[in-house]
């Protein structure tokens, strides 16, 4: 179990002395600032925090944080962090990963970490491009996008990580964008406090290879293209709060507030998995906004690490009398001595 009743700390205490080497203007700077702020809010001592990353621009993150940090291999951060968390469940374990790391080479580990509901704080920094290898498309790049390896346009469909996670029974699903530092800080703090797998997808701008790809979701027009989900509040968006989400059969659609009755506007319920699935699937098609904030939170589903140790403790209680010698000498044993038995009986040699 992670603790959430510590005294808040100074976020600058989480900055390591290492020189940050992201490109000037990279969205990852903002994500790191939000993460430091979230860690400071939680107040978990720096030496009880471990950050695991894979490979990619964003995966350099641990070097810049004054915590324990493990920069590992491409795609495997979720699996390594899972072993780390099980090895020491008292640690606050974060995974910092990118879209390539999580949805391409590490897709399998990402899927199963979500499915197990292991108590990791998973930050998926999504810039929709491969930056470290200099500009090839990723599984979250848009159809038709021109990149180094798609000079005539991307012909495979993008993955929506939050929608995938909802399909897997994820228990904390949230989204923000780099420039929305306060919202990022808020979802990261809540996600880290969540006892289970928390997935925070944060769009990040790659100034070199995918400049402006998520500007509509983080720039001055963001209110027109995104809706911030707040539990118990109506899903209303737009610069003048003129737009809203209503139900259309079993689907969601965008509408003008003026065209619907107030009671038709969907009220966000972060405990409603079906609603969260629909929200996670919204992708700016048909005037729909992209959903930000906490789309889903189920604090009741037990975490994998809790269940692992419940089982361990249970077995230990039941077999408390068994010593290593008992274990080694279990099964059918016999003693070799100088007494030998044959069909005619036993004798001492």
């Amino acid at each position: 179990m992670t603790t959430n009743n510590n005294t808040p700390m100074d976020k600058n205490a989480f900055a390591s002395p290492a020189e940050v080497k992201w490109c000037p203007g990279c969205g990852d700077y903002a994500v790191m600032a939000s993460t430091r702020a979230a860690m400071a809010n939680r107040g978990v001592p720096r030496d009880e925090v471990a950050i695991v990353s894979g490979i990619g621009c964003s995966s350099r993150f641990p070097y810049y944080m004054e915590t324990y940090g493990f920069h590992t291999i491409h795609g495997r951060a979720a699996a390594i962090a899972s072993g780390l968390k099980v090895g020491n469940p008292a640690l606050d374990v974060w995974v910092i990963s990118g879209d390539g790391d999580s949805t391409a080479i590490g897709g399998n580990h990402f899927i199963h970490a979500v499915r197990r509901n292991i108590n990791l704080n998973y930050v998926l920094i999504n810039n929709k491009i491969y930056g470290l290898t200099k500009g090839q498309y990723s599984p979250t790049s848009e159809l038709g996008q021109l990149t180094k390896t798609t000079p005539y346009g991307v012909v495979d469909y993008p993955m929506q990580p939050l929608k995938v996670a909802m399909g897997l029974g994820g228990t904390f699903i949230a989204r923000s964008a780099d420039k929305d530092i306060k919202l990022s800080e808020e979802i990261l703090t809540r996600g880290a406090n969540h006892n289970g797998f928390s997935l925070c997808e944060i769009y990040s701008n790659c100034v070199i290879f995918n400049e402006g790809a998520t500007d509509h979701l983080s720039g001055k027009d963001k209110a027109e293209y995104s809706v911030v989900c707040r539990h118990g509040e109506k899903l209303i968006f737009g610069k003048d709060k003129q737009l809203c989400i209503v139900q259309d059969g079993i689907r969601l659609k965008a509408a003008k507030v003026s065209d619907v009755s107030e009671s038709d506007i969907v009220v966000h319920d972060e405990r409603n998995a079906e609603l969260a699935y629909l929200l996670s699937a919204m992708n700016n098609a048909d005037g729909q906004p992209v959903a930000f904030g906490v789309l889903y939170c189920d604090p009741d589903k037990k975490s994998y690490d809790d269940m692992v140790y419940e089982q361990v403790n249970d077995v230990k209680a039941k077999k408390s009398g068994e010593s290593l010698d008992d274990l080694l000498s279990s099964g059918n044993t016999w003693t070799v001595s100088s007494t030998i038995c044959t069909s005619t009986g036993c004798k001492t040699m």
Binding site: I73, L91, L324, L328, I340
Partner: protein
Amino acid sequence: MSQVKEKDVDQVVIKFTGDSGDGMQLVGNQLTALSALSGNDVNSLPDYPSEIRAPAGTVAGISGFQIALGSKKIHTAGDYPDVLVAMNPAAVKHSYHFVAKGGMIITDSDTYTEKALEKAGFTSDPREDGTLAGYDVKAIPFTTLTREALKDVDMPAKDKDRSKNFFVLGVLCWLFNKNPDEVINFIHTKFGKLPVVMQANDAAFKAGFNYGETTVMFQSRYKLNAASIEPGLYRNITGNEAAALGIAAASKKSGLPIVFGSYPITPSTEIFQEGSKLKNFDVITMQMEDEIAGICAAIGGSLSGKLGVTNTSGPGLALKGEALGMAVMMEIPLVVIDVQRGGPSTGLPTKTEQSDLLQAMYGRNGDSPLPILAASTPDDCFDATFEACSIALKYMTPVVLLTDGYIGQGSCPWKVPKESELPDIPVKFIDDPDYDYKPYRRDSKTLAREWAIPGAKNLQHRIGSLEKDALTGAVSHVPQNHQVMTDTRMAKVANIEVPDCEINGADSGDLLVISWGGTFGAVKGAVDRVMAEGKSVSSINLRWINPMPKNLGKAISRFKKVLIPELNTGQLATLIRSRYLVDVETLSKVKGDPFREYEVVDKIKEVLGE
């Protein structure tokens, strides 16, 4: 009675074959236990079909295993069976051609129906058409005799047939001169809760024993004197079970819980299955989504300050390669147990081979040295696993332990060690919050780096898979630093203290035969045999392959020739040739089957020019 002769023998080899329902495994296990109890040395070799449920009565559905009983130390389950116990025509068809000339074939004459013969692929009765000429065939109506013996037992006829294996065991108990009381005790203990079953098995067993004693079917019975076996408590154990126990023991003696990440793969899976029962010994198992995640979870466990362990076989080791390289780079303790099988690719999953050696040695990118050791017998898998854990922690390094399908799934008697006899495994964490901790500061002797783990007060630091500064562990692309780190990683492994190898026989001569891993038994047996014939041949079993024992080079240099039998095309030979610049003869076998002693004997004589 008095006309029955006793045949004094040093060793007898018995093979059991039958359908899975015949209970031959129980008969074999009991005979093994009885023989062990009477002081014989014993060794067994299972032979399972690769199909899980092949049809009964067909050759493909026959499973079997072979045991050897000795009045001296024996090292394999034997070459040719002296006695084949084959419970139906298909079981005879499966194995009669392996039986030593003049050997005995015991079979159930009640099963020889036209249909059974046809299913087995015989066009006529092999007992009559000359197929089994030259063998001493004992066709005994086991089914009829068992039913007859159980006529007063109140159970359905088809249930009575299930006691047939105890009738067979009775006959064998007599034939091999073993104490029937031990089996009777076993029956009463094992079936105590099922009185009718107990009564049936008891009656069947006694009838079988009396059958041997009172009929003239057998002209002689075997007599094996007790071998000189070290007194102590023994149990039978497979290599995979032994490895799991070795992990639990290492946890106890190091005080470190184990994080055991794994993904099922034949023939290694039983290590993980057994390990998953050991939660009360702090073995925490995580069945992961693939081989890569298996090793990564183990690595995560090590990063948390526990001991990470993973198990696998050939294709799985290939998948783990990148993560293993990271463990080399991060210099963390980790144990990888590779139960080798036939390759390449999916290869022969249920068949043994030793062809992962060069993969373990070189199958990673970059110069990526790690220690490699090999277990030589099923019971040795315990010691080798314990030793692998110990080295991993002492030197802060991943270790690969190579076993193979033959020793992983085969079994032998194991002298059960006491916890108090096992050495402690010291583990040192840096935990002084004021210490000027440098992640890559090293012990001057072992070159192991200092270890501080998450949660240690004020010692937070960052390490990773990028090349690191030789002291601070910070990312470093400085050319000279990479040279230093590469050299240091090589030196650390090269300087691991491993025991000198022992020479079996004279320390110089015409020929030195080197075994490694599962070839130990056949090589030892073969070399002992030719030494007894006066040949100038010695052998060495190589437990440590990286680094090699310090005295190996000198030992090799004292022989005119060197022979390495391997279940591959010469992988250890390649290493020995390049390391010591000596010519090495190889004996290669890749038939999914371990060496038989005679194969090694024949090769030794060929190399000696005979």
